[in-house]
Symmetry: C2
Subunit: 158 residues, 2 copies
């Protein structure tokens, strides 16, 4: 009896796997990112690379710092990630003239072209996961609350 899926009372044992705040969230996140894989593979993007491209399709050109802030990642994570996008010829990296500490990331023509293909992805993913616009909005609201709690906790911790 190693089944755990049938539990309807997730909190009778606080140390049960199903009772953890983190577990279902982590599984769902990994699962959804995994579901993107086959959709992103044809355009040679991983999921976080796709997120960088989304940011650039919105803003055309962004400094590294801003990409990290928008994606809520450490600069040290974004740095090699953007280098791979450069290797794919989707972006270029150039030092700013006014402040040579800053590296500006800009879409190439190839990267800009890719947007047309990418426009189908949100719809594809919603269909794939059987979600509608309201479902996405609801999920977004719940996640936003969690993120706010995490931020507050991090603030309190320093």
């Amino acid at each position: 009896m190693l089944e755990s899926e049938g539990s309807t009372e997730p909190l009778d044992n606080p140390l049960a796997l199903e009772s953890q705040i983190c577990f279902a969230l982590a599984v769902a996140s990994r699962g959804v990112i995994g579901a993107y894989r086959s959709v992103l593979e044809p355009i040679s993007l991983t999921h976080p690379q796709y997120l960088v491209m989304l940011a650039l399709w919105q803003h055309e050109k962004l400094p590294m710092r801003e990409i990290a802030r928008l994606l809520r990642l450490e600069p040290a994570t974004v740095s090699p990630l953007v280098k791979r996008l450069e290797a794919l010829d989707y972006v270029t990296r150039t030092r700013s003239d006014s402040d040579e500490r800053i590296v500006e990331v800009t879409l190439t023509d190839t990267g800009r072209e890719l947007r047309k293909t990418a426009e189908a992805i949100p719809g594809t993913m919603m269909a794939k996961l059987g979600m509608d616009v309201d479902g996405v909005r609801e999920l977004h609201a719940v996640m936003q609350k969690i993120i706010a709690s995490v931020d507050a906790a991090a603030e309190a911790e320093g």
Copy 2:
């Protein structure tokens, strides 16, 4: 104008970062796992290692295969993870007598002892994230729906 936090209409631009099913979920998941860090650090556990320990506190002894299934991870992910737990002297790994393909993972006395300390963690985390039992239950329900959708999509894909 690089702000994105103020958006109240997440779906007016389907390619906007905030409109993605994946993005808020990934940020929330990373954030919550990050919030566990300072709580797990005193007992030398990372988050996925903690999940393995939870499974073992529930079952005392599990084959590798079963840990991977319960945690929804690939066996190749669990293998080095459990080795680190063995290095910490929290678990032992022994080949099954009846089927020598199987590696049984068992709690050591140290690992069993650790449960007492760990019993405080769920409460600590709920307090830290400002959640109550109902909040956890609600989050769990929403995540369960997502996971079911992901499973259905994976099933359809083959």
